[in-house]
Symmetry: C2
Subunit: 164 residues, 2 copies
DNA sequence: TCCATATATTTCATATATGAAATATATACG
DNA sequence: CGTATATATTTCATATATGAAATATATGGA
């Protein structure tokens, strides 16, 4: 039985006690929380041998997914869903490890450019097989059509959250 | 345009650079992260006037959803998706605010019972209309059938994460 | 009974994340 | 120009979360 069952049971009790409580939206929100926790913990465990955390991995991958392998802290904050103060801290840590480089922009001297180092690129190549395997495994229970449907619905959900 | 578009664009670049990288699983994982952040931030903002955080709210609601309005720290950890050390801290905070009570169990003296206080119950009644409105708003973009489908798929996704 | 081991919770040191203020540069407009 | 305002990043104090060790109780044999 899923670890979610007791939570769902508690939502049912809440609905009985608060007739206006919208069950399904509440279930969705709690599912998101459970999923996030699991995904975060799994990624942290997998990355441990490389000495980086899941948020640090996200930073590296955002740079990797960019032409030129470089972004500003504010772009990274947006892309990785972190606050800019946290980007500073994560970037400091990644610089210390030699995985990214911090250089001043000369078009706009307020800006900073964070770019993947040769060593950062090599580390990505190194952990990539394990990451791919994890991602495949995590969605192995879903058929292709279900994955596509889930992607569509989650995007719609996110759109709504960002508007409403 | 959704805040997710740049992230998705970066995943496309990653796929080009790493042919083995599974795009859809990666998109799902990132969507979960974006959704979680948004849900968490929205709830924190809404609850601020009551002086409690989203994790504290979750504790209160887990107790509220239980017959007898009481749970052990370990049950709460499981239900709320928090580590037990964190439950201790959150429970301390809620006790300080007079919203829950901590009593020793006498069937098993290792255990502690955390229960909603009269004041905690009153606070739930007080913020409930705003919470219901938030939950309705957050899912307003989804049709009933879509919400049901999303719930089904997220549960399947979570099951897979917990097995694999 | 006594001991080994398991379970429940808390403590404490440390890691991680945030908001608000500080710093620096850019841009717009009188 | 000069000055007000906006943008980008960092600093710092504080809040939040975690792992590992410590504490206390329970349980099941020898």
């Amino acid at each position: 039985m899923s670890s979610f069952a007791p939570t769902e049971q508690r939502l049912a009790v809440t609905c009985r006690r608060q007739p206006a409580f919208p069950r399904q939206p509440a279930v969705l929100v709690r599912l998101i929380k459970h999923l996030h926790k699991r995904v975060h913990d799994d990624a942290n465990a997998l990355l441990k041998p490389w000495g980086i955390s899941h948020p640090e991995y996200n930073i590296l991958m955002m740079l990797y997914g960019t032409e030129g392998y470089a972004l500003n802290p504010s772009q990274l904050a947006e892309a990785a869903g972190e606050k800019s103060a946290n980007i500073t801290r994560l970037a400091d840590s990644l610089c210390d490890k030699g995985l990214i480089e911090r250089t001043a922009s000369d078009e706009d001297r307020r800006k900073v450019s964070l770019s993947l180092s040769r060593r950062g690129l090599a580390m990505i190549d190194d952990f990539m097989p394990a990451i791919c395997a994890l991602l495949e495994r995590q969605t192995a229970g879903l058929k292709a059509a279900e994955t596509a449907q889930l992607e569509r619905l989650l995007k719609k959900f996110l759109d709504q959250l960002e508007q409403g």
